[in-house]
């Protein structure tokens, strides 16, 4: 419950923060470089004199938008394909499973790093400067959907021999009816739990890509990039490493605890 409140605060801060705290994250205050927290800059400034609170809010928006975009794709495409593969079997199953296996061959983020590194520089200017973020989202969705597909497929397969599915089939219900009325309602909660835990991975992945300089480019920023930039002057002002790290840690932990709690609740049923 406490985790939910913290999460709500973070999300609200990302949405409404720039309205309440309307400081431009790219404006440089050259008299205050690497400043400690003060009334003028509540969380201090970075080595270019940019306001850290404003940058954090902007980074948080990037982080959360990528996470929502990618996770929606993973749930719709990944879980969708997984359910279809589990339900119909046959060639759909073969194609989906082989595709997933192929992408699984790469450990974790490696493929996403490769894709963002190779194509990043040339898509940067596309889609009104959002090209990089779209590419990063694409790369993360590409490496993320197989896990969800495999999970959904497994869960679907375990439902198949259950009496309520068999009786629906025996009564002559068509595939759409069985999938929509019997399968989906039973899978929804499991998929929500998996997605909650998965979002954590995506947020960390986006931050890691940001840290490697592959995610949002100026004037936008990524939490990961803020941390790695602040490493450069950590001996002069360590608070600038601390704040983005804390925001990221709190975000990731609340989501993990929520996911863990949901999982326990679902398993107990």
């Amino acid at each position: 419950m406490a985790s939910l409140i913290v999460l709500a605060v973070i999300v609200l801060a990302a949405i409404f923060g720039p309205l309440i705290y309307p400081v431009d994250p790219s404006v440089q205050d050259i008299d205050n470089l690497r400043a400690y927290p003060s009334p003028g800059h509540p969380l201090g400034t970075d080595d270019l004199g940019r306001d850290t609170l404003a940058r954090l809010l902007s980074g948080l928006r990037v982080s959360l938008s990528v996470a929502i975009l990618v996770e929606s794709f993973i749930v719709i495409v990944g879980a969708g394909l997984g359910i279809l593969a589990g339900y119909y079997g046959g060639w759909i199953d073969t194609v989906v499973s082989r595709l997933a296996d192929m992408l699984f061959a790469f450990p974790g983020l490696l493929l996403a790093i490769l894709i963002s590194a190779v194509f990043g520089p040339s898509v940067g200017a596309m889609a009104g400067g959002a090209g990089r973020l779209l590419l990063v989202s694409f790369a993360l969705a590409l490496v993320g959907w197989p896990l969800m597909a495999r999970y959904a497929r497994g869960q679907t397969l375990s439902l198949m021999p259950r009496p309520f599915i068999e009786s629906a089939q025996a009564l002559g219900a068509d595939h759409r009816h069985i999938l929509g009325r019997h399968m989906l309602p039973n899978l929804t909660s499991l998929i929500i739990v998996a997605a909650t835990l998965d979002v954590v991975t995506i947020i960390v992945s986006e931050a890691t890509l940001g840290l490697l300089g592959l995610s949002a480019q100026p004037p936008q920023t990524s939490l990961g990039k803020m941390i790695v930039e602040a490493f450069g002057y950590i001996t002069l002002n360590w608070t600038q490493v601390l704040f983005p790290s804390l925001v990221l840690a709190v975000l990731v932990l609340t989501l993990s605890f929520i996911g863990d709690g949901l999982q326990e609740a679902v398993e107990r049923r």
Binding site: M102, G108, L110, T208, L211, L212, V228, I234, S245
Partner: protein, 310 residues
Amino acid sequence: MLQYLARRFLSLIFVLFSITFLTFIIGYLAPGDPIQAMMGSRRDPKVYQQLRQQYGLDRPWYEQYLGYVSGVLRGDLGRSYRYAGRPVWDLIRQGLPVSISLGMVALTLSVLVGLPVGVLAAAKANGVFDRASMVVMLTLFAVPTFVTAGILQIVQVILYQNNLPSLPPSGWGQPVNWVLPVVVLATTSVGYLARLTRSTMVDVMRQDYIRTAVAKGVSRGRILTHHALRNGLIPIVTVLGPAVAFVVVGSFVVENVFRVPGVGFLAVQAIGARDYPVIQSITLLLAFVVVVMNLITDLAYMVLDPRIRV
């Protein structure tokens, strides 16, 4: 068992094909002209054509792929754009020993800490130690490596500024330089290992033969070490695959934060310089490492658990 081995072998071939094919396609589609990049400012159409032919870039893509794979098999990973004409393998070879030893030490540390914590937590499931240690382990697992690195760095800076003994924030060469990178690199896999060990052991402790042992009056410690651990450890072997993957990906971050001259450091420099052949080859190499680790763990699983052989 033979059937299992055959299936495992087929999937290995498929995985190796996927890895080489995907890395090749990404390199093939990469924007920019590699020959142009290699020639730098020199513009000689004749030399250009000659080089294109020499590198086989005028051939159709499937021939190029075959050429790429046969090159990889011969240990030829192509040439760096950044260090004009230097073989990629030369660059990687320099960083490899550093990354391997760093990774091995970190993995050893995570096993040494993760396993005992998981076993002790499972010994008294839902006890105080279980609850507390699992929250800590979840935190270690969930918090990204660079956040852990940042917090440890901050501690070092504060210690240093107060004239207290502290560890060097970055650098390589002395044994003290190892401490922070190893600890940070181990955090994710420690959390992962401990949590998995716990859940596996809790499952084992519910088995009938454990209840039998309790009933006949075997001591708690002996049940844990002699009865539960032997079966409980088997599934844990399979975790080493993913744990290696965490360490491999983590090294990208850790080597850069602590300026460790390994493969991950090289990769990030290559990303900055758009040196695609280097990025491509490192991805290929690391994916290969993880594939081999997965194979080893699968085989180890088979050796350890007779049930799987039938």
